[in-house]
Point group: C2
Chain length 185, copies 2
Amino acid sequence: MAHLIPKNLPRYECLQEASQRFPDLDPSAMVAYLHLLRAGTDCLEFSHEYLSAHGVSSGRFTVLMLLLQGQACGEKAEVVTPAELADMAGCTRATMTGLIDTLERDSLVKRVPDSKDRRMMTVSLTAKGTTLLTKMLPGHFKRLARLMACLSESERKTLVRLLGKVSSQAATISGETPVAGCAEC
Amino acid sequence: MAHLIPKNLPRYECLQEASQRFPDLDPSAMVAYLHLLRAGTDCLEFSHEYLSAHGVSSGRFTVLMLLLQGQACGEKAEVVTPAELADMAGCTRATMTGLIDTLERDSLVKRVPDSKDRRMMTVSLTAKGTTLLTKMLPGHFKRLARLMACLSESERKTLVRLLGKVSSQAATISGETPVAGCAEC
DNA sequence: TTTATATAATTAGCCTCCTAACTATCAGGC
DNA sequence: GCCTGATAGTTAGGAGGCTAATTATATAAA
């Protein structure tokens, strides 16, 4: 489940040494990048520990949360289709089909064919799914609160701001040219 | 390849509203957590774009880099075993076997049986593997430098410091009790 | 010497992600 | 009324994670 990110990040001196061989290597950028991947993986693993104890994988949990949100914060969409779920979760429709398959097999969600458009399905939480979520959410939230208790409110704000910069920079660079910066190949 | 993290993070007001229903939910902790996962996924995706254009997945790249490092920064270990690679990469030995299988199939690495202990293998880069790496690394480094160009040196330091706090907090909490904070189940 | 235990690597089987191809349905133009 | 094309969902096949079991070898103890 981890992302195969090196456990021990290289020392800064080693990166500086490597930057002699590779002039394009920016040591402090690399350090920031590696720490970001490392921390992200750690957080994912941290959640996974708790979620898997309840028989729910990270992906399945995301789907359940999206359904709960559509049910609770239901301003616009009462019904949710697999395609919408895939969009919201950031995965392909094929992946969503697989997730819904296993969730439905475990009776946590149910598919209902749309009455108007017979191509479409509607997905919703079952009572069992709702119960499971409401039973496990408090513990999950407690753990996340503890995880972030190491940061003050202002540190959290700073972190979110810096991460936001990185995310939008990634989107910007990716957007401009497919695999840019690769003139030499 | 992404980790099925919601693309659009919930608005802060929505989290505050939800925290009425779930008193354990700490909105600012949740925001920090979600942004961290989001940014980590974005970075991973960003690298993946470039690496996959060269036919190398994230996991395979990690293995190649570990081998290159063992070759270059070779202070201690000249030879590397699959078990050591698995430890360094943070995956299981079984996973490493699979990765080496495909890397070897593509002639990027080679296995050599150890002469002393016949249970062991040593893994090393082939000429083709080394060539591929040295060809693609400059572009990869350039992209990462551009990605992090959105942060000043002091922002990078701050980011690394805050991420380090989160990582070690995760390790601390995970270490103390297997799936703690779950008294209610 | 033989037997028990530990270790290195692999294998087998599962889950989750992907892309590409397929099926069924809808909607628009002739 | 029919083609054409778009769209919703699924299926097929692959890659990369995992755990648990297997095989081969080494080591220690009886």
